[in-house]
Symmetry: C2
Subunit: 304 residues, 2 copies
Protein backbone atom coordinates (compact mmCIF):
# COMPACT_ATOMS: atom_id res chain seq x y z
CA UNK A 1 0.00 0.00 0.00
CA UNK A 2 1.17 3.51 -0.82
CA UNK A 3 1.03 6.02 1.99
CA UNK A 4 0.08 8.83 -0.38
CA UNK A 5 -0.65 8.96 -4.07
CA UNK A 6 -1.38 12.01 -6.20
CA UNK A 7 -3.59 12.08 -9.28
CA UNK A 8 -3.43 14.95 -11.75
CA UNK A 9 -6.67 15.25 -13.67
CA UNK A 10 -10.02 14.37 -12.09
CA UNK A 11 -11.87 13.15 -15.18
CA UNK A 12 -13.36 9.68 -15.77
CA UNK A 13 -10.03 7.87 -15.36
CA UNK A 14 -8.49 10.04 -12.62
CA UNK A 15 -11.67 9.86 -10.55
CA UNK A 16 -11.91 6.09 -11.04
CA UNK A 17 -8.28 5.57 -9.96
CA UNK A 18 -8.98 7.63 -6.83
CA UNK A 19 -12.10 5.66 -5.92
CA UNK A 20 -10.57 2.29 -6.83
CA UNK A 21 -7.32 2.91 -4.94
CA UNK A 22 -9.19 3.71 -1.74
CA UNK A 23 -11.70 0.91 -2.10
CA UNK A 24 -8.88 -1.58 -2.75
CA UNK A 25 -6.75 -0.26 0.08
CA UNK A 26 -3.98 0.52 -2.40
CA UNK A 27 -3.36 4.00 -0.96
CA UNK A 28 -3.97 5.56 2.44
CA UNK A 29 -4.24 9.14 1.20
CA UNK A 30 -5.36 10.08 -2.32
CA UNK A 31 -4.63 13.66 -3.36
CA UNK A 32 -6.12 15.07 -6.57
CA UNK A 33 -5.60 18.18 -8.62
CA UNK A 34 -7.40 19.34 -11.73
CA UNK A 35 -6.56 22.49 -13.69
CA UNK A 36 -10.27 23.24 -14.01
CA UNK A 37 -11.64 24.97 -10.91
CA UNK A 38 -15.20 23.70 -11.38
CA UNK A 39 -13.90 20.15 -11.68
CA UNK A 40 -11.91 20.58 -8.44
CA UNK A 41 -15.02 21.86 -6.66
CA UNK A 42 -17.09 18.94 -7.91
CA UNK A 43 -14.36 16.43 -7.02
CA UNK A 44 -14.37 17.79 -3.48
CA UNK A 45 -18.16 17.69 -3.29
CA UNK A 46 -18.39 14.02 -4.24
CA UNK A 47 -15.48 13.10 -1.98
CA UNK A 48 -12.95 11.78 -4.47
CA UNK A 49 -10.10 12.48 -2.05
CA UNK A 50 -7.96 15.33 -0.74
CA UNK A 51 -8.39 18.05 -3.36
CA UNK A 52 -5.23 20.20 -3.71
CA UNK A 53 -5.25 23.80 -4.93
CA UNK A 54 -2.16 23.29 -7.10
CA UNK A 55 -0.36 20.45 -8.88
CA UNK A 56 2.70 21.09 -6.72
CA UNK A 57 0.70 20.76 -3.51
CA UNK A 58 -0.90 17.52 -4.75
CA UNK A 59 2.38 15.74 -5.52
CA UNK A 60 4.20 16.93 -2.37
CA UNK A 61 5.30 13.81 -0.48
CA UNK A 62 3.48 11.41 -2.83
CA UNK A 63 5.14 8.03 -3.45
CA UNK A 64 3.11 7.56 -6.61
CA UNK A 65 1.95 10.23 -9.06
CA UNK A 66 -0.61 9.38 -11.75
CA UNK A 67 -0.87 11.74 -14.72
CA UNK A 68 -4.50 11.48 -15.85
CA UNK A 69 -4.70 14.47 -18.17
CA UNK A 70 -5.21 14.46 -21.98
CA UNK A 71 -2.13 13.28 -23.88
CA UNK A 72 -1.47 16.79 -25.17
CA UNK A 73 -1.31 18.18 -21.63
CA UNK A 74 1.13 15.61 -20.20
CA UNK A 75 4.31 17.59 -20.94
CA UNK A 76 3.12 20.78 -19.25
CA UNK A 77 1.75 18.85 -16.26
CA UNK A 78 5.09 17.11 -15.82
CA UNK A 79 6.99 20.36 -16.12
CA UNK A 80 4.94 21.96 -13.37
CA UNK A 81 5.41 19.14 -10.88
CA UNK A 82 9.01 18.09 -11.65
CA UNK A 83 10.73 20.24 -8.99
CA UNK A 84 8.23 19.17 -6.34
CA UNK A 85 8.36 15.39 -6.70
CA UNK A 86 9.43 13.49 -3.59
CA UNK A 87 12.74 11.61 -3.55
CA UNK A 88 12.20 8.24 -5.23
CA UNK A 89 8.68 9.09 -6.41
CA UNK A 90 7.16 6.75 -8.98
CA UNK A 91 5.46 8.48 -11.88
CA UNK A 92 2.98 6.89 -14.25
CA UNK A 93 0.29 8.05 -16.65
CA UNK A 94 -2.91 6.71 -18.20
CA UNK A 95 -2.59 8.19 -21.70
CA UNK A 96 -3.97 6.31 -24.73
CA UNK A 97 -0.76 6.95 -26.66
CA UNK A 98 2.57 5.92 -25.17
CA UNK A 99 5.37 7.02 -27.51
CA UNK A 100 4.29 10.65 -27.55
CA UNK A 101 3.81 10.74 -23.78
CA UNK A 102 7.30 9.41 -23.25
CA UNK A 103 8.65 12.13 -25.54
CA UNK A 104 6.68 14.82 -23.73
CA UNK A 105 7.29 13.71 -20.16
CA UNK A 106 10.82 12.28 -20.41
CA UNK A 107 12.78 15.51 -20.82
CA UNK A 108 11.27 16.99 -17.65
CA UNK A 109 11.83 13.94 -15.47
CA UNK A 110 14.11 14.73 -12.50
CA UNK A 111 16.85 12.22 -11.67
CA UNK A 112 15.31 11.37 -8.31
CA UNK A 113 12.02 10.06 -9.80
CA UNK A 114 11.16 7.01 -11.94
CA UNK A 115 8.69 7.03 -14.81
CA UNK A 116 6.75 3.95 -15.97
CA UNK A 117 4.17 4.85 -18.65
CA UNK A 118 0.85 3.00 -18.61
CA UNK A 119 -2.60 2.74 -20.18
CA UNK A 120 -5.72 1.13 -18.74
CA UNK A 121 -7.83 -0.52 -21.48
CA UNK A 122 -10.97 0.64 -19.72
CA UNK A 123 -13.37 3.53 -19.90
CA UNK A 124 -16.86 4.58 -20.82
CA UNK A 125 -18.28 7.21 -23.14
CA UNK A 126 -18.88 9.52 -20.17
CA UNK A 127 -16.37 12.03 -18.88
CA UNK A 128 -15.71 14.26 -15.88
CA UNK A 129 -15.40 13.48 -12.15
CA UNK A 130 -18.94 12.15 -11.84
CA UNK A 131 -18.27 9.49 -14.47
CA UNK A 132 -15.68 7.73 -12.30
CA UNK A 133 -16.44 4.49 -10.48
CA UNK A 134 -14.32 2.12 -8.39
CA UNK A 135 -14.82 -1.02 -10.45
CA UNK A 136 -13.85 0.46 -13.82
CA UNK A 137 -10.62 -1.56 -13.96
CA UNK A 138 -12.04 -4.89 -12.78
CA UNK A 139 -11.02 -7.63 -15.18
CA UNK A 140 -9.67 -5.14 -17.73
CA UNK A 141 -6.15 -5.07 -19.14
CA UNK A 142 -3.67 -2.49 -17.94
CA UNK A 143 -0.69 -2.03 -20.26
CA UNK A 144 2.64 -0.81 -18.87
CA UNK A 145 5.41 0.28 -21.25
CA UNK A 146 8.56 0.47 -19.08
CA UNK A 147 11.81 1.79 -20.59
CA UNK A 148 14.02 2.26 -17.52
CA UNK A 149 16.09 -0.90 -16.96
CA UNK A 150 17.83 0.27 -13.81
CA UNK A 151 17.17 -1.36 -10.42
CA UNK A 152 14.93 1.58 -9.48
CA UNK A 153 13.08 1.17 -12.74
CA UNK A 154 12.44 -2.52 -12.10
CA UNK A 155 11.33 -1.90 -8.52
CA UNK A 156 8.93 0.81 -9.69
CA UNK A 157 7.52 -1.51 -12.35
CA UNK A 158 6.90 -4.21 -9.73
CA UNK A 159 5.10 -1.76 -7.47
CA UNK A 160 2.91 -0.52 -10.31
CA UNK A 161 2.00 -4.05 -11.35
CA UNK A 162 0.91 -4.75 -7.77
CA UNK A 163 -0.99 -1.44 -7.62
CA UNK A 164 -3.05 -2.07 -10.76
CA UNK A 165 -3.70 -5.67 -9.83
CA UNK A 166 -5.04 -4.48 -6.49
CA UNK A 167 -7.41 -2.23 -8.45
CA UNK A 168 -8.68 -5.37 -10.21
CA UNK A 169 -6.82 -5.07 -13.50
CA UNK A 170 -4.77 -7.68 -15.37
CA UNK A 171 -1.36 -6.22 -16.26
CA UNK A 172 0.52 -6.66 -19.54
CA UNK A 173 3.97 -5.28 -20.29
CA UNK A 174 5.02 -4.27 -23.82
CA UNK A 175 7.06 -1.68 -25.70
CA UNK A 176 5.47 1.70 -26.31
CA UNK A 177 5.90 1.19 -30.06
CA UNK A 178 3.90 -2.03 -29.96
CA UNK A 179 1.23 -0.45 -27.78
CA UNK A 180 0.72 2.43 -30.18
CA UNK A 181 0.36 0.16 -33.21
CA UNK A 182 -2.03 -2.26 -31.50
CA UNK A 183 -4.22 0.48 -30.02
CA UNK A 184 -4.37 2.28 -33.37
CA UNK A 185 -6.26 -0.80 -34.59
CA UNK A 186 -8.37 -1.72 -31.55
CA UNK A 187 -9.21 1.78 -30.34
CA UNK A 188 -8.09 4.78 -32.35
CA UNK A 189 -9.43 3.72 -35.75
CA UNK A 190 -12.81 2.55 -34.36
CA UNK A 191 -13.24 5.90 -32.62
CA UNK A 192 -12.27 7.85 -35.73
CA UNK A 193 -14.77 5.90 -37.84
CA UNK A 194 -17.50 6.42 -35.28
CA UNK A 195 -16.84 10.16 -35.00
CA UNK A 196 -16.88 10.37 -38.79
CA UNK A 197 -20.15 8.56 -39.41
CA UNK A 198 -21.98 10.34 -36.62
CA UNK A 199 -20.76 13.82 -37.59
CA UNK A 200 -21.61 13.04 -41.22
CA UNK A 201 -25.15 11.98 -40.40
CA UNK A 202 -25.78 15.32 -38.79
CA UNK A 203 -25.66 17.24 -42.04
CA UNK A 204 -26.80 15.11 -44.91
CA UNK A 205 -28.67 16.75 -47.74
CA UNK A 206 -31.37 14.14 -48.18
CA UNK A 207 -31.94 12.63 -44.72
CA UNK A 208 -32.86 14.76 -41.71
CA UNK A 209 -31.19 14.54 -38.32
CA UNK A 210 -34.60 13.67 -36.85
CA UNK A 211 -34.89 10.65 -39.15
CA UNK A 212 -31.39 9.49 -38.27
CA UNK A 213 -32.16 9.67 -34.56
CA UNK A 214 -35.59 8.06 -34.94
CA UNK A 215 -34.31 5.01 -36.80
CA UNK A 216 -30.93 4.82 -35.09
CA UNK A 217 -31.74 1.47 -33.42
CA UNK A 218 -30.99 -0.23 -36.72
CA UNK A 219 -27.22 0.11 -36.25
CA UNK A 220 -26.34 3.79 -36.08
CA UNK A 221 -26.96 4.16 -32.32
CA UNK A 222 -23.97 1.91 -31.55
CA UNK A 223 -21.67 4.41 -33.21
CA UNK A 224 -23.11 7.32 -31.27
CA UNK A 225 -21.97 5.79 -27.98
CA UNK A 226 -18.31 5.75 -28.97
CA UNK A 227 -18.66 9.14 -30.64
CA UNK A 228 -19.83 10.59 -27.31
CA UNK A 229 -16.32 10.27 -25.87
CA UNK A 230 -14.37 13.34 -24.78
CA UNK A 231 -13.35 15.38 -27.87
CA UNK A 232 -10.23 16.92 -26.28
CA UNK A 233 -8.86 13.56 -25.26
CA UNK A 234 -9.46 12.14 -28.72
CA UNK A 235 -8.08 15.13 -30.58
CA UNK A 236 -4.84 14.58 -28.65
CA UNK A 237 -4.81 10.85 -29.40
CA UNK A 238 -4.94 11.44 -33.15
CA UNK A 239 -2.41 14.26 -33.10
CA UNK A 240 -0.03 12.07 -31.08
CA UNK A 241 -0.34 8.70 -32.77
CA UNK A 242 -0.40 10.03 -36.29
CA UNK A 243 1.76 7.51 -38.13
CA UNK A 244 0.12 4.38 -36.75
CA UNK A 245 -3.39 5.79 -37.23
CA UNK A 246 -2.71 6.93 -40.81
CA UNK A 247 -1.30 3.54 -41.69
CA UNK A 248 -4.26 1.54 -40.42
CA UNK A 249 -6.65 4.11 -41.86
CA UNK A 250 -5.04 3.56 -45.27
CA UNK A 251 -5.67 -0.14 -44.99
CA UNK A 252 -9.27 0.47 -43.86
CA UNK A 253 -9.99 2.71 -46.86
CA UNK A 254 -8.42 0.21 -49.24
CA UNK A 255 -10.62 -2.61 -47.94
CA UNK A 256 -13.69 -0.36 -47.96
CA UNK A 257 -13.02 0.47 -51.60
CA UNK A 258 -13.03 -3.27 -52.36
CA UNK A 259 -16.42 -3.64 -50.63
CA UNK A 260 -17.72 -0.63 -52.54
CA UNK A 261 -16.63 -2.22 -55.79
CA UNK A 262 -18.30 -5.51 -54.87
CA UNK A 263 -21.56 -3.66 -54.21
CA UNK A 264 -21.35 -1.69 -57.44
CA UNK A 265 -20.74 -4.82 -59.53
CA UNK A 266 -23.19 -7.01 -57.66
CA UNK A 267 -20.48 -9.40 -56.47
CA UNK A 268 -22.47 -11.20 -53.77
CA UNK A 269 -19.89 -13.93 -53.27
CA UNK A 270 -17.18 -11.47 -52.19
CA UNK A 271 -19.58 -9.69 -49.87
CA UNK A 272 -20.65 -12.96 -48.25
CA UNK A 273 -17.06 -14.13 -47.76
CA UNK A 274 -16.02 -10.89 -46.07
CA UNK A 275 -19.12 -10.71 -43.85
CA UNK A 276 -18.72 -14.32 -42.82
CA UNK A 277 -15.09 -13.73 -41.86
CA UNK A 278 -16.07 -10.74 -39.74
CA UNK A 279 -18.66 -12.79 -37.92
CA UNK A 280 -16.12 -15.25 -36.54
CA UNK A 281 -14.21 -12.47 -34.79
CA UNK A 282 -17.19 -11.81 -32.54
CA UNK A 283 -17.03 -15.33 -31.11
CA UNK A 284 -13.36 -14.86 -30.21
CA UNK A 285 -14.00 -11.54 -28.47
CA UNK A 286 -16.70 -13.16 -26.34
CA UNK A 287 -14.61 -16.26 -25.62
CA UNK A 288 -11.77 -14.01 -24.47
CA UNK A 289 -14.12 -12.44 -21.90
CA UNK A 290 -13.91 -9.04 -23.61
CA UNK A 291 -17.65 -8.63 -24.18
CA UNK A 292 -21.02 -10.01 -23.14
CA UNK A 293 -22.79 -12.58 -25.35
CA UNK A 294 -26.21 -11.09 -24.49
CA UNK A 295 -28.00 -9.97 -27.69
CA UNK A 296 -27.83 -6.21 -28.14
CA UNK A 297 -25.65 -6.19 -25.01
CA UNK A 298 -28.90 -6.84 -23.16
CA UNK A 299 -29.80 -3.17 -23.44
CA UNK A 300 -33.30 -3.51 -24.94
CA UNK A 301 -36.23 -4.42 -22.71
CA UNK A 302 -36.19 -8.15 -22.10
CA UNK A 303 -33.72 -8.36 -24.94
CA UNK A 304 -31.95 -11.31 -23.37
Amino acid sequence: MFERIAILGAGLIGASVALAAREAGAARVVALYDANEAVRARAKEIGLGEIAESAEAAVMGAELVVLAVPVGAMGAAMQSIAPHLAQGAILTDVGSVKGAVLNAVGPHLPAHAVFVPGHPIAGTEHSGPDAGFASLFHGRWHVLTPFDESEEGKTALGKLVAFWEKLGARVEVMSHERHDVVLAVTSHLPHLIAFNIVAMAEDLENVTETEVVKYSASGFRDFTRIAASDPTMWRDVFLNNREAVLEVLGRFSEDLAALQRAIRWGDGQSLYTIFDRARRMRREVIDAGQDTPAPNWGRDTKGE
Copy 2:
Protein backbone atom coordinates in the same frame (compact mmCIF):
# COMPACT_ATOMS: atom_id res chain seq x y z
CA MET B 1 -57.11 -10.89 -34.08
CA PHE B 2 -56.25 -12.99 -37.13
CA GLU B 3 -57.61 -16.51 -37.13
CA ARG B 4 -54.52 -17.83 -38.87
CA ILE B 5 -51.24 -16.22 -39.94
CA ALA B 6 -48.39 -17.81 -41.87
CA ILE B 7 -44.74 -16.87 -41.55
CA LEU B 8 -42.22 -17.88 -44.19
CA GLY B 9 -38.70 -18.02 -42.72
CA ALA B 10 -38.10 -19.02 -39.09
CA GLY B 11 -35.00 -16.95 -38.38
CA LEU B 12 -34.62 -14.25 -35.72
CA ILE B 13 -37.43 -12.08 -37.10
CA GLY B 14 -39.82 -14.83 -38.23
CA ALA B 15 -39.49 -16.62 -34.88
CA SER B 16 -40.00 -13.37 -32.97
CA VAL B 17 -43.14 -12.51 -34.96
CA ALA B 18 -44.50 -15.98 -34.19
CA LEU B 19 -43.83 -15.71 -30.46
CA ALA B 20 -44.99 -12.09 -30.25
CA ALA B 21 -48.20 -12.70 -32.20
CA ARG B 22 -49.25 -15.48 -29.88
CA GLU B 23 -48.22 -13.70 -26.70
CA ALA B 24 -50.13 -10.59 -27.79
CA GLY B 25 -53.16 -12.56 -28.90
CA ALA B 26 -52.79 -11.15 -32.41
CA ALA B 27 -53.29 -14.54 -34.05
CA ARG B 28 -55.03 -17.72 -32.99
CA VAL B 29 -52.97 -20.07 -35.15
CA VAL B 30 -49.41 -19.32 -36.27
CA ALA B 31 -48.11 -21.51 -39.10
CA LEU B 32 -44.42 -21.38 -40.05
CA TYR B 33 -42.37 -22.72 -42.92
CA ASP B 34 -38.62 -22.53 -43.47
CA ALA B 35 -36.83 -23.86 -46.56
CA ASN B 36 -34.11 -25.32 -44.31
CA GLU B 37 -35.14 -28.69 -42.88
CA ALA B 38 -32.97 -28.39 -39.76
CA VAL B 39 -34.51 -25.00 -39.01
CA ARG B 40 -38.00 -26.47 -39.37
CA ALA B 41 -37.12 -29.27 -36.97
CA ARG B 42 -35.72 -26.83 -34.45
CA ALA B 43 -38.71 -24.50 -34.80
CA LYS B 44 -40.99 -27.44 -34.01
CA GLU B 45 -38.85 -28.47 -31.05
CA ILE B 46 -39.01 -25.06 -29.38
CA GLY B 47 -42.70 -24.70 -30.14
CA LEU B 48 -42.74 -21.65 -32.39
CA GLY B 49 -46.08 -22.69 -33.86
CA GLU B 50 -47.59 -25.08 -36.37
CA ILE B 51 -44.63 -26.06 -38.57
CA ALA B 52 -45.70 -26.79 -42.16
CA GLU B 53 -43.80 -29.05 -44.52
CA SER B 54 -44.19 -26.71 -47.48
CA ALA B 55 -44.73 -23.00 -48.10
CA GLU B 56 -48.02 -23.79 -49.82
CA ALA B 57 -49.28 -25.73 -46.80
CA ALA B 58 -48.28 -22.90 -44.46
CA VAL B 59 -50.16 -20.17 -46.32
CA MET B 60 -53.29 -22.24 -46.96
CA GLY B 61 -56.20 -20.39 -45.40
CA ALA B 62 -54.03 -17.73 -43.77
CA GLU B 63 -55.48 -14.22 -43.52
CA LEU B 64 -52.01 -12.75 -43.09
CA VAL B 65 -48.76 -13.99 -44.64
CA VAL B 66 -45.43 -12.59 -43.41
CA LEU B 67 -42.41 -13.04 -45.68
CA ALA B 68 -39.43 -13.24 -43.30
CA VAL B 69 -36.76 -14.53 -45.67
CA PRO B 70 -33.61 -12.69 -46.87
CA VAL B 71 -34.38 -9.91 -49.36
CA GLY B 72 -32.85 -11.90 -52.22
CA ALA B 73 -35.22 -14.82 -51.57
CA MET B 74 -38.46 -12.79 -51.46
CA GLY B 75 -39.32 -13.16 -55.16
CA ALA B 76 -38.97 -16.94 -55.22
CA ALA B 77 -40.90 -17.30 -51.94
CA MET B 78 -43.73 -15.21 -53.35
CA GLN B 79 -43.78 -17.16 -56.59
CA SER B 80 -44.15 -20.45 -54.73
CA ILE B 81 -47.07 -19.31 -52.57
CA ALA B 82 -48.96 -17.09 -55.04
CA PRO B 83 -51.40 -19.75 -56.34
CA HIS B 84 -52.15 -20.92 -52.80
CA LEU B 85 -52.98 -17.64 -51.11
CA ALA B 86 -56.48 -17.40 -49.61
CA GLN B 87 -59.02 -15.02 -51.11
CA GLY B 88 -58.36 -11.55 -49.66
CA ALA B 89 -55.12 -12.58 -47.95
CA ILE B 90 -52.92 -9.78 -46.68
CA LEU B 91 -49.27 -10.14 -47.52
CA THR B 92 -46.41 -8.29 -45.84
CA ASP B 93 -42.66 -8.73 -45.44
CA VAL B 94 -39.94 -7.71 -43.01
CA GLY B 95 -37.09 -7.03 -45.44
CA SER B 96 -34.51 -4.31 -44.72
CA VAL B 97 -34.85 -2.95 -48.27
CA LYS B 98 -38.26 -1.98 -49.60
CA GLY B 99 -37.91 -0.91 -53.23
CA ALA B 100 -36.23 -4.15 -54.34
CA VAL B 101 -38.74 -6.28 -52.44
CA LEU B 102 -41.61 -4.51 -54.14
CA ASN B 103 -39.99 -5.18 -57.51
CA ALA B 104 -39.39 -8.84 -56.68
CA VAL B 105 -42.76 -9.59 -55.08
CA GLY B 106 -45.08 -7.34 -57.06
CA PRO B 107 -45.09 -9.23 -60.37
CA HIS B 108 -46.15 -12.48 -58.67
CA LEU B 109 -48.95 -10.96 -56.60
CA PRO B 110 -52.33 -12.52 -57.48
CA ALA B 111 -55.30 -10.18 -57.89
CA HIS B 112 -57.09 -11.64 -54.89
CA ALA B 113 -54.35 -10.72 -52.38
CA VAL B 114 -53.08 -7.36 -51.05
CA PHE B 115 -49.41 -6.56 -50.41
CA VAL B 116 -48.21 -3.98 -47.84
CA PRO B 117 -44.39 -4.05 -47.52
CA GLY B 118 -42.92 -3.48 -44.06
CA HIS B 119 -39.72 -3.39 -42.02
CA PRO B 120 -39.34 -3.68 -38.24
CA ILE B 121 -36.48 -1.51 -36.96
CA ALA B 122 -35.57 -4.21 -34.47
CA GLY B 123 -33.18 -7.11 -34.26
CA THR B 124 -30.09 -8.45 -32.57
CA GLU B 125 -26.77 -9.78 -33.85
CA HIS B 126 -28.01 -13.35 -33.35
CA SER B 127 -29.82 -15.38 -36.01
CA GLY B 128 -31.84 -18.57 -36.37
CA PRO B 129 -35.05 -19.75 -34.66
CA ASP B 130 -33.48 -19.79 -31.18
CA ALA B 131 -32.64 -16.10 -31.42
CA GLY B 132 -36.31 -15.07 -31.54
CA PHE B 133 -38.11 -13.60 -28.54
CA ALA B 134 -41.58 -12.18 -28.04
CA SER B 135 -40.60 -8.70 -26.86
CA LEU B 136 -38.28 -7.90 -29.77
CA PHE B 137 -40.67 -5.30 -31.19
CA HIS B 138 -41.61 -3.59 -27.93
CA GLY B 139 -41.18 0.14 -28.27
CA ARG B 140 -39.40 -0.19 -31.63
CA TRP B 141 -40.47 1.44 -34.88
CA HIS B 142 -42.16 -0.59 -37.58
CA VAL B 143 -42.12 1.04 -41.00
CA LEU B 144 -44.85 0.24 -43.54
CA THR B 145 -44.46 1.35 -47.17
CA PRO B 146 -47.93 0.92 -48.71
CA PHE B 147 -48.40 1.52 -52.45
CA ASP B 148 -51.90 0.15 -53.06
CA GLU B 149 -54.42 2.99 -52.74
CA SER B 150 -57.53 0.89 -53.33
CA GLU B 151 -60.10 0.29 -50.60
CA GLU B 152 -58.64 -3.18 -50.05
CA GLY B 153 -55.16 -1.69 -49.78
CA LYS B 154 -56.32 0.80 -47.15
CA THR B 155 -58.13 -1.85 -45.15
CA ALA B 156 -55.07 -4.10 -45.24
CA LEU B 157 -52.86 -1.23 -44.10
CA GLY B 158 -55.18 -0.57 -41.16
CA LYS B 159 -55.11 -4.20 -40.11
CA LEU B 160 -51.32 -4.34 -40.32
CA VAL B 161 -50.95 -1.18 -38.25
CA ALA B 162 -53.15 -2.78 -35.59
CA PHE B 163 -51.22 -6.04 -35.80
CA TRP B 164 -47.79 -4.47 -35.25
CA GLU B 165 -49.10 -2.20 -32.52
CA LYS B 166 -50.43 -5.26 -30.74
CA LEU B 167 -46.93 -6.71 -30.95
CA GLY B 168 -45.69 -3.62 -29.11
CA ALA B 169 -44.28 -1.65 -32.04
CA ARG B 170 -44.82 1.98 -33.01
CA VAL B 171 -45.84 2.18 -36.66
CA GLU B 172 -44.65 4.74 -39.21
CA VAL B 173 -45.81 4.96 -42.82
CA MET B 174 -43.53 6.24 -45.59
CA SER B 175 -42.67 5.68 -49.25
CA HIS B 176 -40.32 2.83 -50.08
CA GLU B 177 -37.91 5.29 -51.69
CA ARG B 178 -37.67 7.30 -48.48
CA HIS B 179 -37.24 4.16 -46.39
CA ASP B 180 -34.35 2.93 -48.50
CA VAL B 181 -32.48 6.23 -48.33
CA VAL B 182 -32.97 6.67 -44.57
CA LEU B 183 -32.01 3.09 -43.72
CA ALA B 184 -28.92 3.30 -45.94
CA VAL B 185 -27.71 5.92 -43.45
CA THR B 186 -28.93 4.52 -40.14
CA SER B 187 -28.39 0.83 -40.80
CA HIS B 188 -26.74 -0.27 -44.04
CA LEU B 189 -23.68 1.99 -43.90
CA PRO B 190 -22.99 1.30 -40.18
CA HIS B 191 -23.11 -2.43 -40.86
CA LEU B 192 -20.85 -2.14 -43.91
CA ILE B 193 -18.28 -0.15 -41.91
CA ALA B 194 -18.40 -2.66 -39.06
CA PHE B 195 -17.99 -5.64 -41.38
CA ASN B 196 -15.09 -3.88 -43.03
CA ILE B 197 -13.12 -2.96 -39.91
CA VAL B 198 -13.62 -6.38 -38.31
CA ALA B 199 -12.68 -8.35 -41.42
CA MET B 200 -9.66 -6.08 -41.89
CA ALA B 201 -8.42 -6.61 -38.35
CA GLU B 202 -8.33 -10.33 -38.93
CA ASP B 203 -5.46 -10.18 -41.36
CA LEU B 204 -3.20 -7.26 -40.61
CA GLU B 205 0.50 -7.65 -41.24
CA ASN B 206 1.76 -6.04 -38.07
CA VAL B 207 -0.89 -6.74 -35.42
CA THR B 208 -2.02 -10.27 -34.58
CA GLU B 209 -5.62 -11.38 -34.28
CA THR B 210 -4.90 -12.37 -30.67
CA GLU B 211 -3.82 -8.82 -29.87
CA VAL B 212 -6.91 -7.38 -31.51
CA VAL B 213 -9.17 -9.66 -29.48
CA LYS B 214 -7.26 -9.09 -26.24
CA TYR B 215 -7.47 -5.29 -26.40
CA SER B 216 -10.85 -5.11 -28.11
CA ALA B 217 -12.51 -3.49 -25.08
CA SER B 218 -10.96 -0.19 -26.15
CA GLY B 219 -13.51 0.31 -28.94
CA PHE B 220 -13.16 -2.52 -31.42
CA ARG B 221 -15.50 -4.93 -29.61
CA ASP B 222 -18.49 -2.68 -30.34
CA PHE B 223 -17.98 -3.23 -34.05
CA THR B 224 -17.76 -6.99 -33.67
CA ARG B 225 -21.32 -7.14 -32.36
CA ILE B 226 -22.81 -5.59 -35.49
CA ALA B 227 -20.42 -7.59 -37.68
CA ALA B 228 -21.80 -10.81 -36.17
CA SER B 229 -25.10 -10.32 -38.01
CA ASP B 230 -26.26 -12.84 -40.60
CA PRO B 231 -24.03 -12.63 -43.72
CA THR B 232 -26.68 -13.83 -46.18
CA MET B 233 -29.19 -11.25 -45.03
CA TRP B 234 -26.63 -8.50 -45.30
CA ARG B 235 -25.26 -9.57 -48.66
CA ASP B 236 -28.81 -9.24 -49.99
CA VAL B 237 -29.29 -5.82 -48.41
CA PHE B 238 -26.25 -4.40 -50.17
CA LEU B 239 -27.05 -6.02 -53.49
CA ASN B 240 -30.59 -4.65 -53.30
CA ASN B 241 -30.06 -1.11 -52.04
CA ARG B 242 -27.03 -0.40 -54.16
CA GLU B 243 -27.65 3.19 -55.22
CA ALA B 244 -28.54 4.57 -51.79
CA VAL B 245 -25.67 2.72 -50.11
CA LEU B 246 -23.10 3.82 -52.68
CA GLU B 247 -24.23 7.41 -52.35
CA VAL B 248 -23.93 7.59 -48.58
CA LEU B 249 -20.69 5.59 -48.72
CA GLY B 250 -19.27 8.22 -51.06
CA ARG B 251 -20.11 10.92 -48.56
CA PHE B 252 -18.61 8.86 -45.71
CA SER B 253 -15.32 8.40 -47.59
CA GLU B 254 -15.18 12.07 -48.45
CA ASP B 255 -15.58 13.09 -44.82
CA LEU B 256 -13.10 10.46 -43.70
CA ALA B 257 -10.56 11.85 -46.14
CA ALA B 258 -11.00 15.26 -44.51
CA LEU B 259 -10.34 13.74 -41.07
CA GLN B 260 -7.31 11.94 -42.45
CA ARG B 261 -5.97 15.19 -43.81
CA ALA B 262 -6.55 16.95 -40.47
CA ILE B 263 -4.57 14.22 -38.71
CA ARG B 264 -1.73 14.35 -41.24
CA TRP B 265 -1.39 18.11 -40.95
CA GLY B 266 -1.91 18.26 -37.20
CA ASP B 267 -5.09 20.33 -37.49
CA GLY B 268 -6.39 19.85 -33.94
CA GLN B 269 -9.08 22.52 -34.27
CA SER B 270 -10.84 20.69 -37.12
CA LEU B 271 -10.64 17.39 -35.27
CA TYR B 272 -12.10 18.92 -32.11
CA THR B 273 -14.95 20.61 -33.98
CA ILE B 274 -15.97 17.37 -35.72
CA PHE B 275 -15.69 15.23 -32.57
CA ASP B 276 -17.69 17.73 -30.57
CA ARG B 277 -20.44 17.75 -33.19
CA ALA B 278 -20.62 13.94 -33.12
CA ARG B 279 -20.98 13.95 -29.34
CA ARG B 280 -24.21 15.95 -29.41
CA MET B 281 -25.91 13.32 -31.57
CA ARG B 282 -25.61 10.80 -28.72
CA ARG B 283 -27.73 12.97 -26.43
CA GLU B 284 -30.49 13.11 -29.05
CA VAL B 285 -30.50 9.35 -29.55
CA ILE B 286 -30.92 8.83 -25.80
CA ASP B 287 -33.55 11.55 -25.47
CA ALA B 288 -35.52 9.89 -28.28
CA GLY B 289 -35.57 6.65 -26.28
CA GLN B 290 -33.51 4.84 -28.89
CA ASP B 291 -30.69 3.75 -26.54
CA THR B 292 -29.82 3.43 -22.88
CA PRO B 293 -27.79 6.17 -21.16
CA ALA B 294 -25.94 3.58 -19.01
CA PRO B 295 -22.16 3.83 -19.58
CA ASN B 296 -20.91 1.05 -21.86
CA TRP B 297 -24.58 0.02 -22.18
CA GLY B 298 -24.16 -1.31 -18.64
CA ARG B 299 -22.40 -4.38 -19.98
CA ASP B 300 -19.25 -4.26 -17.82
CA THR B 301 -19.36 -5.46 -14.22
CA LYS B 302 -20.90 -2.77 -12.07
CA GLY B 303 -20.36 -0.47 -15.00
CA GLU B 304 -23.36 1.61 -14.16
